[in-house]
Symmetry: C2
Subunit: 386 residues, 2 copies
């Protein structure tokens, strides 16, 4: 297996981006990524687009995006795995270099969520998964699904609404320090707790926003890294994946995501690292309960202790494993296809120690990205190493 | 690079399949593929779905399809490259084995086209590509795009309407011998020539139908092939790809598809074979002109001689390179995501010499699949070897 490194990263500002088309949005990240390394569009051998493409007239987003960003001829596919589309696209490019098909590749994650109307967004959220039974009969959309998990987690482990709210407070704190975040404003615990209920126990501040955004990552083989004399290559040590049943009624319990557990096991095994070696992580906090379950499912703490972990500040800078120092999905935003790619953007900056005021201490040089699609329907875990 | 082989193949009946859901349709192919080899769903490490998923409630087809066919946990992504989605999915699974991530994988291509209404299908055809300029201003949908190529090819090389019609006659001849084909009825040259004009010079019989269908291919690493003692592994010698501009106005000429030329060059180079070594091929004949251009762009004949090639019967059994012996997109049908996978199904049967009455003579044991997305917007070329 050829070793694969991240050699350039870019990310657009996340938020309501009605000022740009999908192509222009992608270009913001692509431009920054090429400025971040010494190769050009000409040198790239493969472009992989990660996008759900929620709008019908973007049914085939790869070609128009590649045409606009100067990658004609390089982009033969688009990859989709719901909210984990960015990581799935990263995987495809990673495997292409790892197997020796190409020496360089770019991954572009892009999504515009804010032009989707409410009916469509409902369809995107639940009906889009063709989980017809649960969706049609019970109207379970994403907040409702995660609320089931939250309620069960509270019942079983004594996790509190305050602990959920603390995840949001942390996200907004770091988001306020990230000029690319959708929300750059701190919130108080009280504000989070008093926000309106969306699906109990989840309130408005427990939910990530609908964001537009893009991110891009340029990858190279070990030989290419040497040829280019890259200063700080960030190696993809391993990627793990899993997926789970469509209908939640077929799941064993509602205390964690089996897809995360399995994807993490695969990633740790292939990378030969343990959770305790991770310096900094980006986890999929589409809802606050998702971050707490991720701590547990990724092995950052024993099952049931996720609430305590946020309460003790273990996932802030200074704590045991700082998590989501870019604001996470909750404050940085969640433009489906861009999310997973933007995690690698952030962790690359962290491992290079270029994250400024929100830099985590880097000891072992290991970072972990955790990207979930749906309610644990898909999961990708990526281990990065300096 | 780990060698990768096809060890099991399956294909549903193509056609109007309102008798089944997408999941049930996929299962028909998956079941046949598992019956065709000695492994089970349990043994598969990765499932890749190739699908355009033209209907909004199939926005995320991977999870419901995998759940239904017994591949929970194995299917972390869906791949899309318009009409080449099946090949792009094959590539992702191939690269996953070639790089050593997994030893076994399944590729499932599935599409239901017949429940898409006409407005949506127009959007799927042109607007879905976000080629806004040409689509909105000129209303150029797929038949119109390919008609431009056909008219130009006729003008430049003297290709005739009769030669185009001969491609359709050949497709229907072999389709009539394929119990899985959408159309299993021969047509005469006269019927083809007198069918109504869709976009001159293309008539009804120059266009492939809207089909539902599925196909599945099970892949294994060389080590696994030995472990399982597979009788007739069909090796994926190489895959080549390319893509092209969204708007056709940016293309150099309208005489062939640059994406095919580049994808074929990559595939031949990596597989170390020449076009003259190919025993049998499946090419992307979404319109009859597309098959004639494919002969030329794939190097089966010099540029401009494609018309003569069909006229001389060079691409029938007994000719130099038999092409589309399953009926092709034109008669077997074209369920977008399933098409590329079904080409590998057919060529595997051919290389194993299991194709019965429509068996090509196998001399060197080399077959080629050519799968185009859009009007040469994407292209994948796969070289298979016995």
């Amino acid at each position: 297996m050829v070793r694969v490194a991240v050699i350039g990263v870019g990310c657009s500002r996340f938020g309501v981006r009605s000022d740009v088309t999908v192509q222009e949005l992608a270009f913001e990240a692509v431009k920054e990524a090429f400025n971040d390394c010494s190769i050009t569009q000409e040198d790239v051998e493969l472009s992989v687009i990660g996008s759900v493409a929620t709008r019908l007239y973007e049914l085939y987003p790869a070609v128009p995006v590649n045409e606009y960003v100067g990658l004609d001829g390089k982009g033969p596919l688009r990859v989709e795995a719901a909210c984990a589309s960015g990581s799935a696209a990263l995987y495809t490019a990673y495997a292409s270099i790892a197997c020796g098909q190409v020496d360089t590749a770019i991954v572009i994650g892009v999504e515009k969520m804010n032009e989707v109307d409410t009916v469509t967004s409902l369809a995107v959220g639940g009906r889009g998964g063709n989980y017809l039974w649960e969706f049609h009969l019970f109207g379970t959309t994403f907040p409702a699904y995660y609320a089931l998990y939250a309620a069960r987690h509270m019942w079983r482990y004594g996790t509190t609404e305050e602990q959920l709210a603390m995840v949001a407070v942390k996200a907004h704190k770091y988001g306020s320090m990230n000029p690319k975040a959708h929300f750059q404003k701190r919130i108080t615990l009280d504000e989070a707790l008093r926000s309106r209920v969306v699906a109990w126990p989840l309130k408005l501040y427990d939910c990530c926003p609908m964001s537009d955004g893009s991110a891009a990552v340029i990858l190279a083989s070990e030989a290419k890294v040497k040829e280019l004399r890259v200063d700080t290559p960030i190696w993809i040590e391993a990627m793990g994946y899993s997926s789970d049943t469509a209908n939640l009624v077929r799941r064993e319990d509602y205390l964690g995501l089996m897809a995360t557990v399995k994807a993490a096991q695969m990633a740790y095994r292939k990378a030969r690292v343990t959770p305790s070696e991770v310096d900094v992580a980006a986890v999929h906090d589409c809802f606050t309960i998702a971050e707490i379950m991720a701590y547990e499912d990724l092995g950052f703490c024993p099952k049931g202790q996720g609430g305590r972990m946020i309460e003790e500040g273990q996932t802030e800078i200074g704590g045991r494993i700082p998590v989501n120092l870019d604001g996470g999905l909750k404050a940085k935003g969640h433009p489906l296809g861009a999310t997973g790619v933007s995690m690698v953007y952030e962790l690359t900056k962290q491992l290079r120690e270029e994250a400024g005021g929100r830099q985590a201490p880097i000891k072992r040089g290991v970072a972990l990205a955790h990207n979930v699609g749906g309610t644990g329907h898909y999961c990708w875990v990526t281990v990065l190493k300096r």
